[in-house]
Assembly symmetry: C2
Homo-oligomer: 328 residues x 2
């Protein structure tokens, strides 16, 4: 484990334990199968990054209530709900080294347990007694589902632009981080400019996080990633390294890459995948992707730098840095 | 069209037009495909029963705001969301005479557009500015998804009891009607006993409606139903006529029926299906199902009879009666 990861985990140990307890306590289904399937996705080794940044942002705003840990679970439930539905949409096989839910229990159960988790997130949000928080969650859920449809529609399209890619990951990832950070400020009755600053932190953190996620899908080691690399390519999902490569490659290489993306049943070989990564390295696509992620991480840091120094602020800065350093 | 249906439609013509307009105006997706798929399920000939009873119940409580028609769409969106997901879960082919969405656009799109509609329902609910209404919707969504999982788990199980069946349809249908009627009273600031009375109306109406729905799946004419009869049997879904038959049939018949339910790939013939219905008729299963539905409809009528006479009350009484008379 890197020193930075160790430092973050030491700083938030108590918070993570409380979040973990709340995740179990608030799940509360009537049906055992729902508990089992929800548990499979919820307690399968997630980083708890969304609830954690929400709690830390609340602390930064001097939140003094007792509902922060409870409420933070709404973001993890919502995240888990979208994972259940997205794994089905993406026809994924593995997540964090385990078979995905729809492969174990079937599509139907995955859909319905996702719906249940979405509803739990909403019920917990209603528990804040703040209608504007409900509104933020509702708008978030709308945007996320449309982001996924957008991504689905553009599958296999080698004409996807960087701007369109950024818009897709904004909806599917960054908005959830943004909402988590913004509502923590709303609940703490922080002034508007603090809400905006934390929303900016969340948005930029989410963008950096997803871009690195998409990069790791090419360059991570499989055991650390918990699934085979190349999943995005297999699903015809264009992400930044590939978009940059298509833009910058020589004509012959570009043609070869396009063919690879459009292969029926994604039947590319390990050698072809390695050649693709070599091309990404040579053309500067990997470096470019790292650079874009790092710009977002820097913006995230700048957004919290306006707050006075505190342990919470330091951890939020460390988390922004960690999105770049992580290897899985 | 029956005289009763004509009378109801004449009484609510203006309301239905406004609800229809609001359903279009509030859908509001960014993505054309989302509009198309949501439109397929939303504007495919639904009865608008849920928004309609909500609006009528509000009128009964003297609701004087302007948000009732807008808010009523939340219940239709929520209903449409569950139809999209349930058709997938049930592996259905036709709804109201048209191919279901997941057969046209695939499972992924059906799941994601369902999520979008759920989120729209929530956003419109937040527009009431009443946190208790949000809480009712959240609890409803949780209960509905668990009801569907429950039903799925018991598929093909000939040991399903009448009580368990009633619990399943309570969650999957009656709670939505109940919530629609209750929140109309909450929004009109009606006293607690009126809220309870309307919740009772909605609950009992929903139970009657679903029991008749399940009956029609055996005895309706296919063109009127918009899909083949026998869908529940094909899906291994036990409903009241079959539960009663299994309970009351002679031993040899019971064995034959059990085999029919458990047939691989539901490969029963038209003759076998007709024999099943004959058995249901002879054993009194059809009559019993009608009787149970009618008891719920009577309870629904009793619940609104406490209100002073008005046009809205008369239509709510007519609707309760209509659930029994309808042929599709």
């Amino acid at each position: 484990m890197s020193d930075l990861k160790r430092k973050i985990l030491d700083a938030v140990k108590g918070d993570l334990e409380e979040i973990e307890n709340e995740l179990t306590a608030n799940l509360n289904p009537h049906i055992d199968l729902v508990r089992e399937v929800a548990g499979h996705i919820l307690f399968g080794g997630g980083k708890r990054l969304r609830p954690l940044v929400m709690v830390l942002c609340g602390r930064l705003c001097g939140y003094s209530g007792t509902y922060d840990k409870t409420f933070s679970t709404a973001f993890e439930y919502l995240h888990a709900a979208t994972l259940l539905h997205d794994d089905l949409v993406d026809e994924a096989s593995l997540r964090r080294g385990k078979p995905v839910a729809h492969r174990v229990w079937g599509n139907s159960v995955a859909v319905l347990v996702g719906d249940f988790l979405l509803a739990r997130a909403l019920a917990i949000t209603a528990g804040t007694e703040r209608i504007e928080v409900v509104r933020i969650l509702a708008e978030l859920t709308e945007a996320m589902s449309q982001g996924e449809v957008h991504q689905l529609m553009r599958k296999g399209d080698t004409g996807l632009s960087e701007d369109e890619y950024l818009e897709i990951i904004r909806r599917k990832t960054a908005l959830l981080f943004q909402a988590a950070c913004r509502v923590s400020a709303v609940l703490a009755d922080a002034p508007e400019e603090r809400q905006t600053a934390l929303a900016d932190y969340g948005y930029n953190l989410g963008m950096a996080f997803q871009i690195v996620d998409d990069l790791l899908d090419y360059v991570a080691e499989t055991p650390q990633l918990g699934k085979a690399t190349g999943a995005d390519l297999r699903e015809g999902k264009l992400t930044l390294p590939l978009i940059h490569l298509l833009r910058s490659a020589r004509s012959a290489d570009r043609k070869w890459v396009k063919n690879l993306v459009q292969l029926k049943h994604a039947e590319f070989t390990a050698e072809e995948f390695q050649k693709l990564i070599d091309l990404m390295r040579e053309s500067g696509a990997l470096r470019y992707t790292e650079k874009v992620a790092s710009l977002y991480a820097e913006k995230a840091k700048a957004a919290v730098s306006a707050f006075p120094p505190s342990a919470a602020r330091e951890t939020l800065l460390d988390i922004a840095q960690y999105t770049l350093n992580r290897t899985a």
